[in-house]
C-alpha cells in the first residue's frame, strides 16, 4: 500500500545518489515539483531516464544532479533547444554527461519490457540508422518462426520512477486521465515509485479515459498542487506556454540559470504564477 507523505519526504526516502531515476510524463503531467525537490536535496550522479527530457531535465542537468541521460528526444517542445543539456553534452558543464540515446519506440518498449518482468523488448526499429553504432543497448534478434531480423532493447527498470497525477484517494490509489503517456509502464518497471498528485481526495469519482494505479503498485504518494507546472494537468490547469518560452532565456546562460536555481529552487519561491 502506498504511504502518503510530503514531497520532501517522498523524494528524500526514495532518491539516492547514484540511482537510476525516471521522471515521466509525455508533455502532460510532467513532475516538475519533484524535479525541483531533487535539486533542492542535492542529489548527485543520477542516471536520468526520460523519453522527452525537456525543461525538467534541463534543470536537473544544469544543477549538476546527473551523470548520465537515457532518452529519445531532448528539446524544449515548441520552442527549441535545451541549453543546459547542450552545454553539458558539448562543453561538459557543470559536469560531463554520458548519453544513451534511443528512439521513442525503443524507449517505450524498454519500459514495457521493464513493467512486464521481461529482460528485453522487440520492435521493428533502428534499421539503417546510425543509432545502433553509438548505443550498445540496441541489438538484433531473429524470429524463431520466420527468421526475420528485428531490434531488441533491454528492459528499463529504474531504481525510482516519479510521475505526477491528478488525484489519489487516502488509501493511495492513483487516478490519471488525459494523455497518459508511458507513466503506468514507468511506475510498474521501477523498484520504487513516487506519485505526486494535484490533490488527495476521499473518493475517486470515475472519469472517462482514466487510468488507475492501485495503491499496492506505488511506494509513496505526495500532494503537490500545481506540481506539473509549467506543463499541464488536464482538469486542473493549462500548459503555461509562456514559461516554456521564458525558459529559453533562463536556461540559455549559465549565470541566469544559476540565479534561477538560487532564487526559485532554494529561495522557496513558487515558480510561475
Amino acid at each position: 500500500m502506498a504511504e502518503i507523505v510530503s514531497l520532501a519526504d517522498g523524494v528524500g526516502r526514495l532518491v539516492r545518489d547514484g540511482d537510476t531515476v525516471a521522471l515521466e510524463g509525455f508533455t502532460h503531467l510532467i513532475p516538475h515539483a519533484a524535479g525541483r525537490e531533487i535539486i533542492r536535496q542535492g542529489r548527485r550522479d543520477l542516471t536520468l531516464v526520460r523519453m522527452t527530457p525537456d525543461i525538467v531535465y534541463d534543470q536537473l542537468i544544469g544543477a549538476g544532479c546527473a551523470r548520465k541521460l537515457v532518452f529519445s528526444w531532448g528539446g524544449n517542445p515548441g520552442v527549441g533547444s535545451l541549453h543546459r543539456f547542450r552545454d553539458a553534452v558539448q562543453n561538459g558543464w557543470p559536469a560531463p554527461l554520458e548519453i544513451e540515446e534511443h528512439s521513442h519506440a525503443g524507449m517505450a518498449n524498454r519500459y514495457v519490457a521493464g513493467a512486464s518482468g521481461l529482460p528485453f523488448g522487440v520492435l521493428r526499429g533502428y534499421s539503417g540508422t546510425d543509432l545502433p553504432e553509438h548505443t550498445d543497448t540496441i541489438k538484433q534478434i531473429t524470429c524463431p518462426f520466420t527468421g526475420e531480423q528485428l531490434a531488441a532493447v533491454p528492459a528499463l527498470n529504474p531504481d525510482v520512477s516519479i510521475i505526477h497525477a491528478q488525484r489519489a484517494d487516502r488509501r493511495g490509489n492513483v487516478q490519471i486521465w488525459g494523455l497518459v503517456g508511458v507513466q503506468k509502464e514507468a511506475v510498474l518497471a521501477a523498484r520504487r515509485s513516487l506519485v505526486t498528485v494535484e490533490e488527495v481526495v476521499d473518493d475517486l469519482e470515475p472519469v472517462p479515459g482514466q487510468m488507475m494505479l492501485p495503491s499496492w503498485a506505488v511506494t509513496y504518494v505526495a500532494e503537490a498542487p500545481h506540481g506539473a507546472h509549467p506543463s499541464y494537468a488536464q482538469g486542473y490547469y493549462d500548459r503555461d506556454n509562456d514559461y516554456y518560452k521564458e525558459w529559453d532565456s533562463i536556461g540559455r546562460k549559465r549565470d541566469s540559470f544559476e540565479a534561477w536555481v538560487r532564487d526559485t529552487v532554494f529561495g522557496g519561491e513558487v515558480s510561475g504564477k
Partner: protein, 263 residues
C-alpha cells in the same frame, strides 16, 4: 525538432511569404481521409490547414497518444490538451508505436528535419562528424526513425538551405532512401519512404530509378538557380518541372487565422 525563427527571406508577392507557401503546399499534399502521423512544428501547421480546407476527414495522429485529433487551434506541443480532448481515441505512448505505427496502419508520416540529404535521409541528432563531441547537439530521434520506417509514405517539410540540404547527413537519424534504390528493401523497411519533400522554394520527389531527390516543382517567383544555390548537392531538375499554384485567399486566411490564434 528545432524551430528556427521565421524569416520571410523571399517575399515575391505582397500576398504571402515563402514559409506560408511551404505550409500551404504541404497541406495540399494531404488527401482527404489520409491517416497522418504528425510531427510538431511545420508538419502540424500544414496538417491543420489541410483539415480546415480540402481535407476535413484527415485523421491526425500524434505520438503523444491521440488518434483523430480535431484541434480548433494550432497545438503548441504534440501533447497539448486540445489534442486529447478532441480525439477519437486517447491511448498510451507504447500503444501508439506498437499497435498503430509499427504494423503499417498510417498512410503518411509527416516529418521535419534539421538536415536532409540527397536521398532523403534525415538528421535530427548531431551536427558534426564526431557523435561524442558534436558541433551542435540536436534533440535526437523522437518518434522519427520508426515513423520513417513504417508509414506507407513519408512527407518531409523543411526550410531549404545549403546548411539543411546536404550531400550526406552527418548522422542518419531516420532512413530515407539510404544510398539509393533497393536500400529500404534490404533494410527491411516496409513503407515507401520519403515520396515528397516540401521546402520554402519548391517540391522534390525521389527519382524512380536512383531515389535521388529531384526538383519537380518550383513555388511561384522562385527560379531553379535559387534552388541550386540552396542545395548542397548537384541538383537534378525534373523534365516536367512545374510551378506550384499560389496560395488561394482561403488557404492564406485559414493559415493566418490558425497562426494568430496560437501565438
Amino acid at each position: 525538432m528545432t524551430t528556427p525563427q521565421q524569416q520571410p527571406r523571399a517575399e515575391w508577392t505582397p500576398d504571402h511569404t515563402s514559409d506560408e507557401m511551404m505550409s500551404i503546399a504541404a497541406a495540399r499534399a494531404l488527401a482527404d481521409g489520409t491517416r497522418c502521423f504528425v510531427g510538431i512544428g511545420l508538419p502540424s501547421t500544414a496538417a491543420n490547414v489541410a483539415r480546415r480546407t480540402h481535407a476535413p476527414d484527415l485523421v491526425l495522429i500524434y505520438e503523444s497518444g491521440t488518434l483523430g485529433s480535431k484541434p480548433d487551434v494550432l497545438p503548441s506541443s504534440i501533447g497539448d490538451g486540445i489534442l486529447a480532448e478532441t480525439a477519437d481515441a486517447v491511448i498510451g505512448v507504447p500503444e501508439v508505436f506498437n499497435y498503430w505505427l509499427q504494423p503499417g496502419r498510417i498512410d503518411v508520416g509527416f516529418l521535419g528535419a534539421a538536415q536532409l540529404d540527397r536521398f532523403g535521409n534525415i538528421n535530427t541528432t548531431v551536427i558534426g562528424d564526431d557523435y561524442a563531441d558534436p558541433a551542435v547537439r540536436l534533440p535526437g530521434a523522437g518518434g522519427a526513425p520508426e515513423i520513417a520506417a513504417s508509414c506507407r509514405e513519408v512527407f518531409v517539410v523543411v526550410r531549404q538551405s545549403r546548411r539543411s540540404f546536404v550531400e550526406q547527413v552527418d548522422f542518419v537519424t531516420s532512413v530515407g532512401h539510404g544510398r539509393g534504390r533497393g536500400d529500404r528493401e534490404r533494410l527491411g523497411l516496409r513503407g515507401a519512404g520519403p515520396t515528397l519533400v516540401i521546402t520554402d522554394l519548391g517540391i522534390f520527389r525521389p527519382d524512380p530509378d536512383t531515389r535521388e531527390l529531384v526538383l519537380s516543382q518550383l513555388h511561384p517567383g522562385v527560379d531553379v538557380e535559387q534552388v541550386r544555390e540552396a542545395t548542397g548537392w548537384e541538383l537534378t531538375v525534373a523534365d516536367d518541372l512545374s510551378t506550384t499554384d499560389a496560395p488561394t485567399a482561403a488557404e492564406l486566411s485559414t493559415l493566418r487565422t490558425l497562426k494568430e490564434a496560437s501565438s
